[in-house]
């Protein structure tokens, strides 16, 4: 579907020369971006590229309906810029991040607070928003909160048991990933990419590999792309199973909780069967896949997959049957489709609000150009919908894996990567199990990475959790949090 747009269109997993990225003066650039967002397109990434003392803004838009991406950039400027957030809420975190990383002020930004940097031993957001009223008390949870879980701070404004407002302060896990890549790729870069979000190793590694391959002007061999798709779905299976188990555990439904805990380990062991590491470390590399699977290994994988899928089927059947589970899940943590679209929600959380958005479907790259996974959507927007979408995705990923493991492509799995093209921009999107992973790579004149922007799906989705809690009872917070199950370190980088 072609339509008039001033932005240059770009397919997922390809690169273009920096000079070919359309450039406008700042105000016009922001107007154009705003116009596209107003037409219902999505902001995949929005960041700044420093040029000396000045800054240039780059926007990567996702035209889901047109199955294409669009890029554009502004001319250099310094000081401040009119905030897009004033009219389009999905830009809010990006603009706060730009302010924090580069110092330019988005004017009229309704919520200008730091994102990750800590100003003096406190959560990044500084003073928390307070609700006026005599009956209001705050509940402050974290960073060290219950469970074996990453750190984050949640500030609730409550009237009794009802949550009026939730403000989430992250940044506790800021390790400086983007800063470390500059001038790279270095020796440690690919290992850092694998641990951006440790449970989305395949997702981020694939995006990194795709970006570098696009910059080098090549593609990974087909068998490697096939292997990457297999590993991606195995990662999805493991995490969705774990999520169903955790949700069941939160409502004290132990049959599913204990069963899924074990089955998740089984899925992780399937990934370990492929590459030795339960999370897929050491498998995906720019240029292909480091390890291969012979027939014996793949048939073992197939067999063990069947067993695990049958077991998770049983465990989930218990879950959907239980009335006690349904009462807790239904109408809890509700998010409207309109809200989800406005804040740019991605992944299963968005699909659970009825939005049809999936990178494998909208922007297929790699093996997903040849084999489709149907998009799993559920309209309600509550915890039940998010659990249900996960269940559908388990089933569909299982079908996909069966299909693919029965039709193994031939060929090598690794090819050497040529040098990266200088002064080029590449965008790679991958549908990680939480949602859209977006890597944008920009090389300099020397062919080294001048700027690398990582947008984890959690970057879009944490706002969704904050909205979903409004009007809920605070005792439902762990359940809602688990139903989103977002990455803290993927956000904090």
């Amino acid at each position: 579907m072609k339509r008039d747009t001033p932005f240059t269109l770009l397919t997922n997993g390809t690169a273009l020369s920096w000079a070919d990225v359309p450039e406008w003066p700042l105000a016009e650039f922001l107007r154009n971006v705003g116009a596209e967002l107003g037409r219902g397109e999505r902001l995949s990434s929005f960041f700044g590229v420093p040029e000396g003392d000045a800054l240039r803004l780059v926007a990567v838009l996702a035209f889901d309906a047109g199955n294409t991406l669009a890029v554009g950039r502004s001319q250099s400027f310094s000081g401040s810029f009119p905030a897009l957030t004033a009219t389009h809420a999905q830009a809010h975190l990006f603009e706060r991040e730009i302010w924090e990383q580069h110092g330019v002020v988005p004017e009229n930004h309704p919520w200008l607070k730091p994102v990750r940097k800590d100003h003096g031993a406190g959560p990044a957001v500084g003073d928390f928003f307070r609700v006026d009223g005599r009956e209001i008390h705050e509940v402050a949870v974290g960073p060290v909160h219950a469970g074996i879980i990453e750190p984050g701070h949640f500030r609730f404004q409550c009237a009794g048991e009802e949550v009026l407002h939730l403000e989430i302060a992250l940044g506790f896990q800021h390790r400086g990933v983007e800063e470390a890549i500059a001038g790279g790729p270095h020796r440690a870069t690919v290992y850092q990419m694998e641990t951006v979000a440790g449970d989305t190793t395949i997702g981020h590694a694939t995006a990194y590999a795709n970006a570098l391959e696009a910059l080098a002007g090549t593609e990974a061999p087909l068998r490697a792309q096939w292997l990457r798709a297999i590993a991606l779905e195995l990662e999805r299976l493991a995490n969705h199973t774990g999520d169903l188990g955790a949700l069941a555990g939160d409502v004290a439904f132990l049959p599913t909780a204990s069963a899924c805990g074990k089955i998740r380990g089984d899925f992780l062991n399937l990934t370990a069967l492929l590459c030795g590491n339960r999370f897929g470390r050491g498998l995906v590399r720019p240029g292909g896949c480091l390890l291969d699977g012979d027939t014996e290994r793949l048939s073992q994988l197939r067999k063990r997959l069947e067993t695990a899928l049958a077991e998770v089927q049983q465990a989930a059947a218990w879950l959907w049957d239980a009335a006690s589970v349904r009462t807790r899940f239904e109408h809890t943590g509700h998010l409207h489709a309109k809200q989800a679209a406005a804040i740019g929600l991605v992944g299963p959380a968005a699909r659970a609000c009825g939005l049809v958005r999936d990178v494998r479907f909208d922007h297929p790259t790699g093996w997903h150009r040849f084999a489709q996974v149907p998009v799993s959507v559920w309209p309600d927007g509550d915890v039940f919908a998010r659990a249900r979408v996960r269940w559908l995705e388990i089933q569909r990923s299982g079908d996909f894996l069966r299909e693919q493991l029965d039709a193994v492509p031939e060929g090598e799995t690794m090819s050497s990567l040529p040098a990266l093209a200088p002064n080029s921009l590449a965008v790679a999107l991958v549908e990680g199990w939480r949602g859209e992973v977006c890597h944008v790579a920009l090389t300099g004149a020397d062919g080294k990475l001048r700027r690398y922007k990582i947008t984890d799906p959690s970057f879009h989705n944490w706002t969704g959790l904050a909205l979903a809690l409004r009007g809920q009872a605070i005792s439902d917070f762990p359940l809602c949090n688990k139903s989103f199950n977002l990455s803290y370190c993927g956000f904090d980088l």
């Binding site: 919520w111 609700v131 006026d132 009956e135 402050a140 060290v144 409550c158 009794g160 048991e161 406005a342």
Partner: protein, 676 residues
């Protein structure tokens, strides 16, 4: 003798305080000191009289006789009077001592001499109400009591809230005076005489309809005074705005005059009661108890919370008295005595612990300059003794053993539970239902005091005033201490106290129960039945004391090696906890507000302001209100109807002389016809 001395002490205190108005300190010491002296005399008098067991302590004495025949002021004291004189003297004594310190807060601001004088006057007239021997004395003392209390409610008349509360109190008091007056006139007409002696048993001479009408009038009149639902609307408005010592007196003593009146009238004057009298009192008591505590739970104003609790406890007292009347009807005199004892024991208990709580609230109010619990907190560390006394009062009012509230509620339960077998009519269902509702109020009262004590005294201070609070002065603490000691005594030694109630029940129901209620040499309290429900608060306490060496020994053996390290409260690793993170009083009661939504009809309002996007609010404001059900659904319509009626009647005030002359003529003709 002693009682006369006490009365003269009050008079002297009143006069002295008025004369020395300008010398604040002297007025304070003299006025409240003499009040305390009078209290001591009153206590000694009443205890000795009750212990002596005489039916009549002071035979009718004419204080004053005027030129008009039948207009005399007569006093007499029987067991019932002595009991209530004990209440007023004990509580008055404690409050007087408290006021010695509390009145200092009014130095330079208000007239302490007037405060002390009116306080003495209140004690005087209340005592006179209890020892009144004829209608004139009773009604004059009653009216004076209402006027003086009105004056005290409006003491801080600069405050609009206090003025409005005073007006409401004034109107309700006169409504109740009117009802009582009508009722007494009906009785006096049948007796032909105004003295109480001739009114005894007069109910037999009235027709059943007249008796019922009189009963209704008395119930409404004394009910207003006592603060029973739905006649209670003045109580939570008037008690909070008065100075705290007056609030304590009002809640502790003045509302008991309504109970005194009801007991006197129903048990002595009106004769054998039909079933519906007791049943209606039991029902009214149950409703008052439940509603009182429910509304108390929703309050965040400390004194209003305590005022609603007074309504609840009056309800419990009425349940006891209603049950006693029902038992009189069915002929179970022993049970009637038991129920009456339960009601009266709860009367003195409530007087004691409610006064204690109000005194504590007064100390807190002075320290933090606010009645709003949401601005308090952290006072336990800053006001150790006050918080301890308040805690004892809270435990007592929650009816937890081994304190006094538990004893009287236990007696009430026993009488209610045994009521089921006394009759075969459906009315007997009221007993277990009442017992269940009583259990509900007990639980809710405990919840309410967890909130009241917790939010006020525990955790961190929520305001600068609370942060800078300091302990109250010595007289304030001593006053609270006296009442605390009384709570403990009444709780641990019920069997000893019950002996004092013997002459009372003998006079009113014809039975002396203390022997049957006491087992094991006074250690155990029994409920005087064959099934033998028993409890021993003293035993519980003694056992706890005897067992205390065990954990102490264990600690000495094993615990001393443990090192203690004081570390900050775990806060999830954040920068630190702030008072904003403490639970609010309204938040605490929110789940109950949701459960009883139909009663409270809460309305909530969320205001969201945003500049650009509704997802990013600039301000968010939350407010919730509750509908005042009785005001809007009963009193307001009645008021409106009355106003409409009076507007119509205004037509009579035509302003023309001719019309008025015709009125005079019509009246004259009517009178002549009527007289003939």
């Amino acid at each position: 003798m002693l009682l006369t001395f006490a009365l003269w002490a009050y008079v002297a205190g009143m006069a002295g305080a008025l004369v020395l108005q300008r010398a604040e300190r002297l007025a304070n010491v003299l006025g409240f000191g003499l009040a305390a002296l009078g209290g001591v005399c009153g206590v000694v008098f009443s205890v000795s009289s009750l212990a002596a067991g005489r039916a009549v302590t002071i035979a009718p004495v004419t204080l004053w006789s005027g030129p008009i025949p039948d207009v005399r002021l007569v006093v007499e004291a029987d067991a019932l009077s002595c009991f209530f004189v004990l209440i007023v003297s004990l509580v008055g004594l404690a409050i007087s001592v408290f006021s010695l310190g509390y009145a200092r807060t009014y130095y330079g601001r208000k007239n302490v001499g007037v405060l002390a004088a009116v306080f003495n006057a209140l004690l005087l007239v209340t005592t006179l109400v209890f020892i009144a021997g004829n209608l004139w004395m009773f009604l004059i003392a009653w009216e004076l009591m209402a006027l003086l209390a009105y004056g005290m409610v409006s003491f801080e008349h600069e405050d609009r809230e206090a003025r409005q509360a005073g007006v409401l109190y004034f109107i309700m008091s006169h409504l109740d005076a009117a009802c009582i007056l009508l009722g007494f006139l009906m009785l006096a007409q049948a007796a032909g005489d105004f003295s109480f002696a001739s009114l005894r048993g007069i109910g037999a001479k009235l027709s059943p309809q007249q008796r019922d009408a009189a009963f209704m009038l008395f119930v409404i009149g004394f009910g207003i005074k006592a603060g029973a639902v739905p006649l209670h609307i003045w109580l939570p408005v008037a008690h909070p705005v008065a100075p705290s010592n007056i609030s304590a007196l009002m809640s502790g003593v003045l509302i008991k005059t309504g109970i005194y009146g009801l007991v006197r009238v129903c048990f002595e004057f009106l004769g054998p009661p039909p079933m519906w009298w007791g049943a209606s009192l039991l029902a009214a008591g149950t409703v008052s108890a439940v509603l009182g505590v429910l509304y108390a739970l929703m309050e965040h104003d400390l004194k209003r919370l305590l005022a609603y609790h007074s309504i609840e406890n009056i309800g419990i007292i009425l349940m006891g008295i209603g049950a006693a009347l029902m038992f009189l009807h069915t002929g179970h005199a022993v049970l009637a005595s038991l129920a009456l004892i339960a009601g009266l024991y709860h009367t003195i208990n409530h007087a004691v612990f409610k006064a204690l709580l109000f005194l504590g609230a007064g100390a807190v109010l002075h320290a933090t300059h606010t009645r709003n619990m949401e601005e308090m907190g952290g006072l336990a560390k800053r006001m150790r003794w006050t918080s301890l006394f308040f805690l004892v009062g809270a435990v007592a009012i929650s009816a937890l053993p081994p304190l006094n509230g538990f004893v009287s509620e236990w007696l009430t339960y026993q009488s209610l539970l045994q009521g089921f077998g006394t009759t075969t009519s459906l009315v007997r269902l009221m007993f277990p239902l009442g017992g269940a509702m009583l259990a509900l109020t007990g639980a809710l009262a405990a919840a309410c005091f967890v909130k009241a004590f917790g939010i006020t005294f525990l955790a961190q201070p929520r305001s600068d005033h609370a942060r800078n609070a300091h302990e109250a002065s010595l007289p304030v603490l001593i006053g609270q201490g006296v009442l605390t000691a009384a709570c403990v005594f009444l709780g641990l030694f019920p069997t000893a106290f019950l002996k004092l109630l013997d002459p009372l029940t003998q006079q009113l129901t014809g039975h002396q129960l203390s022997q049957q209620l006491t087992l094991a040499n006074g250690l155990v309290l029994s409920d005087a039945t064959a099934q033998g429900g028993t409890v021993s608060t003293l035993g519980i306490t003694l056992m706890a004391v005897y067992l205390l060496p065990v954990p102490l020994a264990l600690w000495a053996m094993f615990g001393r090696k443990a090192r203690t390290r004081i570390a900050p409260t775990w806060d999830c690793g954040q920068r630190g906890l702030t008072p904003q993170m403490e639970y609010t009083a309204t938040g605490f009661s929110k789940p109950l507000r949701m459960i009883f939504k139909a009663l409270f009809r809460p309305r909530r309002e969320v205001q969201r302001e945003y500049d650009f996007s509704p997802y990013f609010a600039t301000t968010l404001r939350f407010e919730s209100h509750m509908e005042e059900v009785f005001q809007t659904r009963f009193y307001r319509p009645v008021n409106l109807w009355l106003l409409r009626l009076s507007r119509r009647l205004r037509a009579l005030q035509a302003g023309s002389l001719q019309a008025y002359l015709i009125y005079v003529f019509i009246t004259l003709v009517a009178l002549l016809l009527f007289a003939s």
